[in-house]
Each structure stands twice: as structure tokens, then as C-alpha cells.
């Protein structure tokens, strides 16, 4: 199909789009196509039977619930961190700012064994809670902590630039109109950061949903209680059950795609307000 290119003045269109399409097809499209191909071998009835199997549904529940709680925890602390990092000068600020990306850089397996060692009955933190007869590792709480660790950078890094570039004049206008700092935060600053916050939340949620490496160490993997969806895929694979594994994988893929789509919609809608 002949694409009618409006601005052909800048060269390099063929080259750049060519490379882009080559990569996108080789790395994303062809592999994704394989998933669809493989799970279609299952047929619709097989697909629904697998996806709505009790244990798979339970794993969705565990995965979605823990990912949601982890992402929300990250929202609360992420906004606080972004606020503190962008508004106050205090000793150690640069070190804290530097550490935010650690979950990106640290391998998930390493995080997994470290968190498990930390929160299990004998670990530094775990022992403390064990005395209070509270188990963290091998429970959904453990999963949530691992997912919070994984998702932490997304929200801080989404909200921080917005706060840093926000013109202080809005807060001053709020103060002049007699609003208390809390009210100013709620009605002036929050709306400004909500789009970035939702984007960060979406990314953290999608990332946590698919996390495997760190979670299997701390989860305990008890069916119906702490077995996460990626583990279902893995265990179905280990039973040479490719069709069902890809079926579950496809539903996860669908969920993440919906989340990413919502993020894009939110971003474009928010841009409408800010047409300065």
C-alpha cells in the first residue's frame, strides 16, 4: 500500500522504518504470533476449560490481588518519595535518589533469595514478626513485598519529573485563597500528577503481574493460596502441556495489553487539559 508521506523532506524514512519493522517483527510480532498459533491448537472449548479451571482462576486472583496491592503500596510511597525528593533538601537525598533504580538493576532471582532470607521465620525481619506469630514469607504478604520491590521505581520515576516541573505558582494561588497544605495537595497538586501516577501504576501493575524470578522463592507456591499465574504457566509447561500453558499466557498477555492501552488513553486525555 502506497503510504502518502506528507513531509518527505527529511531523509532516512525508508532506512529507519525498515530497521524498526525488522526488529519489531523479529522480536515481538513473530513470537507473539507463535503464542496465538500454539494456543489455537487447543480449540475454543479447550481454551475456556483451561483458562477458567479453578486452580488457574485462583492463581489469577492471587496474582492480580498481590500485584494490585503492591502497585497501590508503591503509589502511596512512590508519591511520598517523589514529593520528598523534589521538594526538600536533606542529607542523603542524592543517595536515596540514586537507589530508586536498584530493583531494575538487581537480578530478580537475587532479589528473590534475599527477600526470602530476610522475611522467612529466621530472617532479620521475619524473626521479629515470628515472635508476634505473623508469617510473612510463604504467604501472600511475602508475594506482595516482592512485587512492591519490583514495582517501586516505576511510580517514583513517573511522578518525580512532573513535581519538579510543576510551576509553584499553582500552590501559591492555593495558599492565597486560604487553602491548607493538605487541601492544596488534594485539589491542586494531585490532579496534576494523577496522569503520571496512573501511568506508573499501570506499568508497575503489569510488571508485577508477570513477575516470576523473585516471587517463586518467597511465595510458597501453595495452590489456591500463594500460587501465582506465571508459576501455573511454568508448571503446565513442565507437564509438557504447551497448549494450556500458552492459553494462560495469552490471557495474561491480554490483561497486560489492556493495561498498556488504558495508560495510553489516560495520557492523551490528560494532555487535553494542559494545552497551554
Amino acid at each position: 500500500m502506497k503510504t502518502r508521506l506528507k513531509n518527505k523532506t527529511i531523509p532516512g524514512f525508508g532506512l529507519s522504518l525498515g530497521i524498526t519493522m525488522a526488529f519489531v517483527s523479529m522480536v515481538v510480532l513473530i513470537p507473539m504470533f507463535s503464542i496465538v498459533l500454539q494456543s489455537s491448537a487447543l480449540g475454543w472449548s479447550g481454551f475456556w476449560k483451561t483458562v477458567f479451571d479453578a486452580r488457574v482462576l485462583a492463581s489469577y486472583r492471587v496474582s492480580f490481588l498481590c500485584s494490585f496491592i503492591a502497585a497501590s503500596l508503591n503509589c502511596f510511597f512512590g508519591v511520598m518519595l517523589a514529593w520528598v525528593l523534589s521538594r526538600y533538601r536533606f542529607p542523603g537525598r542524592r543517595i536515596i535518589d540514586g537507589m530508586i533504580e536498584l530493583p531494575f538493576a538487581l537480578p530478580t532471582a537475587v532479589a528473590g533469595i534475599a527477600l526470602t532470607a530476610l522475611y522467612s521465620g529466621k530472617g532479620w525481619v521475619g524473626a521479629f514478626f515470628a515472635d508476634l506469630d505473623i508469617k510473612i514469607a510463604y504467604t501472600p504478604a511475602g508475594i506482595t513485598i516482592a512485587l512492591t520491590f519490583i514495582g517501586l521505581p516505576f511510580i517514583v520515576r513517573a511522578v518525580q519529573p512532573v513535581l519538579e516541573q510543576l510551576d509553584p505558582v499553582y500552590e501559591e494561588a492555593g495558599r492565597m485563597l486560604g487553602a491548607s497544605p493538605a487541601r492544596i495537595f488534594r485539589s491542586v497538586i494531585l490532579p496534576e500528577i494523577v496522569p503520571a501516577l496512573l501511568t506508573g501504576f499501570g506499568l508497575a501493575f503489569a510488571r508485577a503481574l508477570g513477575e516470576y524470578g523473585s516471587v517463586i522463592f518467597i511465595a510458597g507456591n501453595m495452590p489456591f493460596k500463594t500460587e501465582i499465574a506465571p508459576l501455573i504457566i511454568m508448571s503446565k509447561l513442565e507437564q509438557f502441556n504447551y497448549g494450556e500453558a500458552t492459553a494462560v499466557a495469552l490471557t495474561m498477555l491480554m490483561a497486560s495489553f489492556v493495561i498498556m492501552f488504558c495508560i495510553n488513553v489516560v495520557q492523551s486525555r490528560a494532555a487535553r487539559f494542559v494545552k497551554e
Binding site: E172, M176, L177, A179, S187, P191, E192, K275, E276
Partner: protein
């Protein structure tokens, strides 16, 4: 004095924003803080509002010292330079924000907002978002928002800087009318002297952190207290050494050691070729550099004793052209004596001619 500043000093690091600033403003008065950018006028406004706190000195509103009062408790309405409307709130919510903070009942709030919308001539626009308004509309909403909680003092930071020229004129007179109708003590900051003269009851000229002069526009124009005010307010041409002009030379003028000064265009009278000349001894020879048509008169730029001056030349007189030699008489000028400014009349004119026409 309704608003009073006494001995205010403020510096940001090494930069001294306010040096011993003291002045007062009468209740119901509309005052302008006029000065070049960076002269500390905005800082003064922000200190009154409580957005900045002075290093030393006191601020009084309605007789009470407010230094320790937070901005929200000073009963001040503030209009920001680029409006600072809350982008995610409708016009209605923006205007009603101040009242909703005071927990005003819904109905009363709505009534007040509707009243204000009528006041600013924007009925029916409650549901709009700031991004959908023009610059002028945004400024009026910002004005209404500041007025909503019935402040006792209104502060405006360069309210028209961000508005394009032709809308600005209308907005200025609209604002002038609003404030005088409400009888609300107001202070606004501007770097545009025409705006200050046109809108304000009184003007406070600031320069490098100090108050140069405070007074009604006519006063500032006619009797500037300092060289800065003379040069800044109205047009004037600087004179290196006034002694070199006839009638102001050392001999009979009672000035000694006076060096520089400034001449306003209306201080100079240009004689058409062949026109009878008063006071022959004080007339100076000059060459016309350029002639610009200014609507009601011609603005003539001329070189007199190698200093460039500008003067007005009525249309009905015989036309003159660039390069033509003419004769001009300097009625009076501002003499700068050690930081103070004094109006000096041309000695040879004697007393009989003290009244001269001013065209503001």
C-alpha cells in the same frame, strides 16, 4: 495608612532585593509598584502577600502587624502574572475555590460565583476549562477567583504582561472601573509606565531594591524626586552638562557644581524658519535629525550642541525636514543635584513665563 511597610530588607543570597523599603497606601487606593524588571517590585508584593518573608522590617495591614500571619490568614486576593488557574478545575470550581475552602454552603457559594461571573461578563461559561479560554478571559477569571473570598486587599502581579496589546487596553480600563467600583485597596506591579500612569491612583517607583519616589502620576511626571524617576517616568532626553545651555550656564543660574540633567520634549519650543523669536538671548541653534508623525503632532529629533533631544512640533506650522537648521528654546529642565532632582527654568525668561503648557 491601610497598608504600611516599615524598614523592609530582603536578600536572596548575595542579591539585595529590598533595601530599607518603607511606604504606606491609603484605604481604597489603587497603587502601582513601577520599576524596571529586577528592581524588587514583585518581591515587595510577594512579601505583603506572605509568599516571601522579609529579613527585617514590618508589614501592617489595617493597622495590624502581619509578618507572622500565614498568607491564607491575611485576607488578601492575589492575581498572578500568568493567571495560575487550576487547570483541572472548571471556571466555576476555580472561582469558588476560595469559598469552598472556607466551607461556604453550596447554595451561597454558587450565588457568589454567579454574581462574580456577571461582574466579569462571563455568564454561562461555568463549565469551561482554563485551557478553553482566551488570555483576557483567563485573567478575568483569575480576578474573579481572587475577589470571591471578599479580600480586604487585592494584589496583582503584572496582570496584563501576558495579554496581547490590543486586548490589554480594554482590560486596563475594565480593571480600573472594577476596583474603583468595589473600593478595594489594591496594589499592582508593572514595568510599563504608561499602564501605571493610566490605571493607578498613586505610583511607587522602585529601582535596585529601593523606593525612588511615591506620589500621584502627575506629581511624578512633573516633579521627579530623583534622576531615575525623571528618566524612567515619561520620555526625557539626558543632558551631560546643563551648564552649556544658554540660560542655564553657571553665570546667573543659582546653581553651582550642577553637572547633568534631563529635558522633556514639551520643555523645548521649535521656531519655524522666520517665526518671531522670544527671548533672543536664550535661543539655541540646532539641526533636525529626523521627523516622525505622531498623529496629533510631529515628533522632531534634533541635535543641539551635539546632544540629541526630542521635541514636539505642531502640524499647522510650516513643515520642516531632516537636516534643516532651526532655532529652539529650552524653557526648563530637570537638574540632578547629588541624587535629588530640581526643576530649573531658563534664567533669561525671567519669572513672567513660569506657566508652560504640558501635554501629558
Amino acid at each position: 495608612m491601610y497598608v504600611e511597610l516599615r524598614g523592609i530588607n530582603k536578600h536572596f543570597g548575595a542579591y539585595q532585593a529590598s533595601r530599607d523599603v518603607s511606604f504606606g497606601i491609603e484605604e481604597g487606593n489603587l497603587a502601582a509598584l513601577l520599576g524596571p524588571s529586577g528592581s524588587g517590585k514583585t518581591t515587595i508584593l510577594r512579601m505583603i502577600a506572605g509568599l516571601e518573608s522579609p529579613d527585617s522590617g514590618d508589614i501592617f495591614i489595617d493597622g495590624a502587624r502581619v509578618n507572622d500571619l500565614p498568607s491564607s490568614k491575611r485576607g488578601i486576593g492575589f492575581v498572578f502574572q500568568n493567571y495560575a488557574l487550576f487547570r483541572y478545575m472548571t471556571v466555576f470550581d476555580n472561582i469558588g475555590f476560595g469559598l469552598s475552602v472556607q466551607k461556604t454552603p453550596r447554595a451561597e457559594l454558587a450565588a457568589r460565583v454567579e454574581e462574580l461571573l456577571r461582574l466579569i461578563g462571563m455568564e454561562g461559561m461555568e463549565r469551561r476549562y482554563p485551557a478553553q479560554l482566551s488570555g483576557g478571559q483567563k485573567q478575568r477569571v483569575a480576578f474573579a477567583r481572587a475577589l470571591a473570598p471578599n479580600p480586604r486587599l487585592l494584589l496583582l502581579d503584572e496582570p496584563f504582561a501576558a495579554i496581547d496589546a490590543k486586548v490589554r487596553q480594554g482590560l486596563r480600563s475594565w480593571l480600573r472601573g472594577m476596583i474603583s467600583r468595589l473600593g478595594l485597596t489594591s496594589i499592582f506591579v508593572t514595568h510599563d509606565q504608561a499602564e501605571a500612569i493610566e490605571v493607578a491612583d498613586e505610583i511607587i517607583v522602585t529601582n535596585a531594591g529601593r523606593v525612588e519616589q511615591k506620589g500621584r502620576p502627575v506629581e511624578l511626571y512633573k516633579s521627579p524626586a530623583t534622576p531615575f524617576v525623571a528618566r524612567f517616568v515619561g520620555d526625557s532626553a539626558p543632558i551631560g552638562d546643563i551648564g552649556r545651555l544658554k540660560g542655564f550656564d553657571g553665570a546667573d543660574a543659582d546653581v553651582s557644581g550642577v553637572v547633568s540633567g534631563a529635558i522633556r520634549p514639551e520643555f523645548i519650543k521649535i521656531f519655524a524658519p522666520g517665526e518671531s523669536v522670544q527671548c533672543e538671548s536664550a535661543v539655541e541653534a540646532a539641526v533636525v535629525e529626523s521627523v516622525i508623525f505622531r498623529g496629533d503632532a510631529l515628533e522632531v529629533s534634533l541635535i543641539l550642541k551635539d546632544t540629541r533631544l526630542s521635541a514636539r512640533y505642531p502640524l499647522e506650522k510650516e513643515t520642516i525636514a531632516a537636516g534643516q537648521k532651526i532655532r529652539a528654546l529650552v524653557y526648563c529642565l530637570y537638574a540632578f543635584e547629588g541624587g535629588r532632582t530640581r526643576l530649573l527654568h531658563n534664567a533669561c525668561l525671567g519669572r513672567q513665563h513660569d506657566a508652560y503648557s504640558y501635554s501629558i
